[in-house]
């Protein structure tokens, strides 16, 4: 019990610390100056336009990072319960590849416009991500029953298919578009096209979907026992599967459309925290949301600060999460055999 409480406290403090660091650190305005600016802002004062703009840029980026972290971590936790596989990750349904294909097509066609505040790339990526999930869903559903096993396999196949389509697009477009698509695929929060309005919409979707998953914490505990046992304990299994899948897919698709597929958050955070918090989903989802948000925000701040401090090229945040996530997994596998 003590360990759990300690973990929650650490996560909470860690998240606050990361948010503070994110707001204070960056190449455009030093920490001291940023602290002064934030102080003035909260006291209701007026800031010089450029300082205000930089604070806005950082806050938008932080909000986007938090959205991504919360969405991926809660979706990952729920899918790990639903698919009864601690190695499941939100992209296992082919969402990253579907989104990537959408983004690649929009980039290749040079489409302008979009929908409301969102660019064509955002919209196409979202559509592609959902299309991939729908494809897997249609394949895995027979006679009104969704086979979780079939869904897993279908997701892998759909992902592979869309990946080859992405490669096809990359093969035919000019170098400049290739570069843009590659960057999108790595997952990046640095784009100035991530506007506060976009983040606001995305946050609304993420809060809604994660909220629903949170409310389903107890049924998630039950589905982890197996579908037959869950049925006999009183869970409406088919309806529940659809609801969880829908929320997880929607949350993931929306953050993928915003910032591209930032990897490893959805698989590492739930897996690591489950070892400490335990398998019950009410505390686990809360911890995962905080942990995911902190991880992405840390990564984004880190890449920003190291690029500036060491005069290195800017690295996308997806690379950071991969460099942290993959070795973590390998170490755990070696020590404990998952």
């Amino acid at each position: 019990m003590n360990r759990k409480v300690a973990t929650f406290v650490t996560l909470g403090c860690g998240l606050l610390a990361v948010c503070a660091a994110s707001a204070l650190m960056g190449p455009g305005l030093g920490p001291a100056a940023s602290a002064r600016a934030l102080g003035k802002l909260f006291a209701g004062g007026v800031l010089p336009a450029d300082e205000y703009a930089i604070i806005v840029v950082r806050m938008t980026r932080l909000a986007a990072a938090l959205c991504v972290g919360v969405a991926l971590a809660t979706a990952g936790t729920s899918l790990q319960a639903l698919l009864r596989n601690p190695l499941a990750d939100p992209y296992i349904l082919g969402i990253a590849a579907g989104g990537g294909f959408g983004a690649a097509v929009a980039t290749a066609l040079g489409l302008g416009g979009g929908l409301a505040a969102f660019s064509a790339v955002n919209v196409f990526a979202f559509a592609g991500a959902l299309a991939a999930v729908m494809a897997g869903f249609v394949v895995a559903r027979a006679a009104g029953i969704l086979s979780v096993h079939a869904l897993l396999l279908a997701g892998v196949m759909v992902g592979a298919f869309f990946t080859s389509l992405i490669l096809l697009v990359l093969a035919v477009v000019p170098a400049r578009d290739q570069h843009a698509v590659f960057l999108w695929l790595m997952g990046d929060l640095a784009s100035p096209d991530i506007t506060p309005v976009k983040v606001g919409f995305t946050a609304a979707v993420v809060v809604l979907c994660s909220g629903v998953l949170f409310l389903l914490a107890r049924p998630l505990d039950i589905i982890a026992l197996g579908e037959e046992s869950a049925f006999h304990l009183g869970l409406s299994v088919e309806k529940f599967k659809l609801l969880v899948l829908g929320c997880a897919a929607l949350a993931t698709a929306s953050v993928v459309a915003l910032a591209g597929p930032i990897g490893f958050v959805g698989i590492v955070v739930p897996h690591a925290l489950r070892r400490i918090i335990g398998p019950r989903h009410l505390p686990l989802l809360a911890a995962a949301a905080a942990g995911g948000a902190a991880l992405v925000a840390v990564g984004d701040t880190l890449v920003r600060v190291t690029a500036d401090y060491f005069n290195m090229p800017i690295v996308p945040v997806g690379v950071f999460t991969a460099l942290v996530g993959a070795p973590y997994f390998l170490v755990i596998l070696r020590k404990k055999g998952y």
Partner: protein, 312 residues
């Protein structure tokens, strides 16, 4: 029945063999006179004295060849070699980043002119095939002069090369002499964007940055780690450029103004966001002088009008 079929098969096979034998004759290996040339990668290449079949895999080198009047000797280019218009009619050997070895070989060139760094691999492959290949680099604006002279020597158009260089130098000095008159404190801070996604600009080591400085601008991207570098949005905001030059045709001025936090940048407030044809500024060729002139007109519109530095 079987015997008849067998006979037909033999006859067909014989005819096919005969036709194959009548195919393209093996390329004649003419012993040409060559001389040694050291290219920008430090390679000593035996270059034919009067190359008649040149393949050029770099758009800027293609412009140089045509400007020297050697366009008639170019038998193949890559997609993207679109200047002068005549170059577009030439057979394509692939893309800049993906040159097709087969197509190059099929055109039987006696010289290939390539861009260093990005095309190192194809240069090595061609070397193994025994095709004389020279690679050029363009780290600064002076390389335009060097490359024009070097190519002029290779194709035997030294006089034309000297002419081109003189004209280039004249155009540039006309501008720099005016730009130098502006005190350093009055020169505009310039953000030149070569890519919107991710945000990229130029820094020391790039001839584009040299062009900005020669045209009297102060490069906002100064100090970035690489000649062509990503830049953080908040750095652009902090350095507050007075002029924004878009060199990629991907975004409009309205898109730039809509970026988070960019609304209060001086250049955005004063609507000094201009688009510039990337081919004039991102190619280290004779047209770079026009690019520099265009930059000067963007930075100092009243001065340029007054001095009559119009389109050349």
């Amino acid at each position: 029945m079987v015997k008849k079929g067998y006979r037909a098969f033999l006859v067909t096979a014989a005819v096919a063999a005969a036709l194959a034998a009548c195919g393209k004759p093996a390329p004649r290996r003419v012993t040409e006179e060559t001389r040694s040339f050291r290219d920008d990668l430090g390679r000593d290449v035996d270059v034919p004295v009067a190359p008649r079949r040149i393949i050029c895999t770099s758009p800027e080198m293609t412009e140089i060849l045509f400007a020297l009047g050697a366009g008639g000797r170019v038998v193949g280019v890559v997609r993207g070699c679109d200047w002068p218009p005549a170059a577009r009619e030439l057979p394509s050997v692939g893309d800049f980043s993906n040159v097709s070895l087969e197509r190059v070989a099929a055109l039987e060139p006696n010289l290939v002119i390539a861009a260093g760094h990005e095309q190192n691999r194809i240069v090595a492959q061609l070397e193994r095939l025994g095709v004389p290949t020279v690679a050029f680099l363009a780290p600064d604006i002076a390389s335009v002069r060097r490359n024009v002279k070097a190519v002029g020597a290779i194709v035997g158009e030294e006089a034309k090369a000297a002419e081109l260089v003189a004209a280039f130098d004249e155009k540039i000095s006309a501008i720099t002499s005016e730009a130098e008159k502006v005190p350093l404190g009055d020169r505009p801070r310039v953000y030149l964007e070569i890519c919107p996604e991710p945000l990229m600009t130029v820094a020391e080591g790039s001839f584009v940055r040299d062009a900005i400085v020669l045209a009297g601008g102060v490069n906002v991207g100064a100090g970035l780690p690489r000649p062509y570098s990503r830049i953080e949005a908040e750095v652009v905001i902090a350095r507050d450029p007075e002029v924004i030059v878009l060199c990629h045709g991907g975004t409009t001025a309205a898109d730039v103004a809509a970026r988070t936090g960019w609304g209060q940048i001086t250049a955005v407030r004063e609507k000094k966001i201009c688009e510039l044809n990337p081919d004039l500024i991102l190619r280290a060729g004779p047209r770079l002088a026009e690019g520099v002139a265009a930059l000067y007109r963007i930075f100092y519109p009243e001065r340029a009008e007054g001095e009559g530095i119009g389109e050349s």
